[in-house]
Amino acid sequence: MALLKLQFPLQRRVRLAQSLWLLSWLAVLAGAFTFSLGVYLKTELLRRAEVMDNTEIHVVPNILMLVGLITIGINLFAGRVCQDSLDSARFPPWKPFLLPWYGLAWMVCVWLLSAVVLSYALQGHLEESLKVGLRNGIRFYRDTDVPGRCFQKETIDRLQMELRCCGNTNYRDWFEVQWISNRYLDFTSKEVKDRVRSNVDGRYLMDGVPFSCCNPGSPRPCLQNHLTDNTAHYNYEHQSEELNLYNRGCRQALVDYYMGLMNTIGPGILSVISLQMSVLVSLRYLQTSLDGVDPENPEADSEGYILAKGVKETMMDVKNTMFKLLQFGQVEAGDEAEAGADGEKAATSS
């Protein structure tokens, strides 16, 4: 019992071929769209590569780019096939390529779906990577004279200003790090000596943050130093002061930004998957309906289906074919072994 059988008179076949041609060109555009989405996502991830520790998340845009190119290729092929499909002389050469084409189209859909799933599944990894990257960025903020790290300060400052965030989890991360280089500290002054001695590692720690944490929307000029000391500033209470600095941590800001990107890309990819599936189904119908055409009477009706037998029977058939191939391999090996054993017996007996 064939799966989803449909009748195809000549007119319907012609219309199927024409609409498939249009669909395949739309699918080519969809493939280009997928590729460009992959490129865009990759550039966005590369822009902040300095605050990321590893590149695991890059697997999502890489899949999108690769699958986009493959989609363009297979849909150009599909367009060519259906252009030749109504000419009974030009169609047969394409027939042997169709089965691998179905496999490839099916794989494309699976990969796209996996890219969407991965983009949500890897959120935890992204957060970990950002945690480590930002921690290092904050620790090396002051090393503007160390080659390889001299741009950390500018990177972190621009990141905090663009994303409106401060520190890793929040602004208190700056209190635990010495973010002023020793070159700009006067070690003869009492204040500096007191602070350096007040902790085990001899670091100059203070309850201050860099200027890039300042919120322009605050009604009062930015307070950067002595943040936890209410008496240091007039009319200031640090527990209730909300607008002075950015409250959000940069890790949360970056994760939100990238998850927002993935959420926007998700529906686009799902529509590309559905387009590719419709091209696959249409091509299958076209192929089976053309196969069923009587060569004597090319304008007669024919039947088209997705699978020649039901799903279960097709699976059994595939299993049997594979079994036979394996058995064939085993029997050949068994024959050789017997022939080898015979040969040895003959050798020992002679």
Partner: protein
């Protein structure tokens, strides 16, 4: 002696009409482009309208929008005329309109060139507008509790961060105004009383700048307060310190931003004007070649096309004579009426 005569057989006429129809569609798109550039420019001016004086003029973007719409209309009409030119019946309906249409095309091209010129010249009034507007903006920086001015601080901070500039002419503009609101000054402290007593107006002036003047590319954490006092900071010399705060003034930054935009728009409008001249000449050829068939009954005969029927000088003297005749005709009519009145 006609100007630039070209012989046309049927095939050439058809090709000319088809090519010109395509060119008219490009011109319609060019008109859409001019319209959208005018719209973009208007939005950009509106975005920074707080930094500008109240009498800022939106004349140039409005003109660009109007010219863009007019270009779309004229070119669509020209395309329709070209499309109909190969059918003698349809073309005969358009014939009486063609001469006035071509004259209006000439006027429109002059308008396009004028618009481009205005785009290049708009920099000058903009400079004055921005100087005045920024001076006021700096003065209202502290008024975050005054309705109508409460967002000035945020706007100015964001602008200084985005355009990488500080103050009006340079960072010293901040030294001359009080940018810390009285709400946050402790008037019982000695330091505050000293500073207020030190100047005539009783303003709290200091040699400090807001945080938005800080340059992230500086190797040391930003020095905002006591900027001109070398002893206040370790290893600091404000004469040689280049990277600490932005050196450029915001007026210069905004002028170069808008100036670049206007130069690009002006250049594009000039290119559109050149395109319009080309299609106008093409339409004149279509017109003259269709009107001068060697054999009026046979639509497939050869014909000649030209840009002007006589040479430029002769056409010019013709126009002057016509204008003189028109003004003389009025004078004669009036004289006749007077004569009749006196006689009767």
């Amino acid at each position: 002696m006609a100007l630039m005569v070209v012989k046309f057989d049927l095939k050439k006429r058809v090709k000319l009409a088809q090519f010109l129809w395509l060119m008219y569609w490009f011109s319609v798109m060019a008109g859409v482009l001019v319209f959208s550039m005018g719209l973009f420019f208007k939005i950009e001016l509106r975005k920074r309208s707080e930094m500008m004086d109240n009498n800022e003029s939106h004349f140039v973007p409005n003109l660009l929008i109007a010219v863009g719409l007019l270009a779309c209309g004229i070119n669509a009409l020209g395309g329709k005329i070209c499309y109909d030119s190969l059918d003698p019946i349809k073309f005969s309906r358009w014939k009486p309109m063609l001469k006035p249409f071509l004259v209006s095309c000439v006027a429109f091209n002059c308008l396009l060139v004028l618009t481009a010129l205005l785009c290049f010249l708009m920099r000058i009034p903009l400079q004055f507008t921005l100087a005045e507007g920024l001076k006021n903006a700096l003065r209202f920086y502290k008024d975050t509790d005054t309705p109508g001015r409460c967002y000035m601080k945020r706007t100015l901070d964001q602008m200084q961060i985005e355009f990488r500039c500080c103050g009006n002419n340079n960072f010293r503009d901040w030294f001359e105004i009080q940018w810390v609101s009285n709400r946050y000054l402790d008037f019982s402290a000695k330091e505050v009383k000293d500073r207020i007593g030190s100047n005539v107006d009783g303003k709290y002036l200091m040699d400090a700048v807001p945080f938005s003047c800080c340059n992230p590319g500086s190797p040391r954490p930003c020095i905002q307060y006591q900027v001109t006092n070398n002893t206040a900071h370790y290893s600091y010399d404000h004469h040689t310190e280049d990277l600490n705060i932005w050196k450029r003034g915001c007026r210069d930054a905004l002028i170069s931003y808008y100036g670049g935009m206007m130069n690009t728009i002006g250049a594009l409008v000039l290119l559109v004007a050149i395109l319009e001249v080309i299609v106008m000449i093409g339409l004149q050829y279509v017109n003259t070649s269709q009107c001068n068939l060697a054999n009026p009954e046979d639509p497939e005969s050869e014909s000649e096309g030209w840009i002007l029927e006589k040479t430029v000088k002769e056409t010019f003297t013709d126009i002057m004579d016509k204008m003189k005749a028109m003004s003389k005709g009025n004078a004669v009519e009036e004289g006749g009426v007077d004569g009749v009145a006196t006689v009767s």
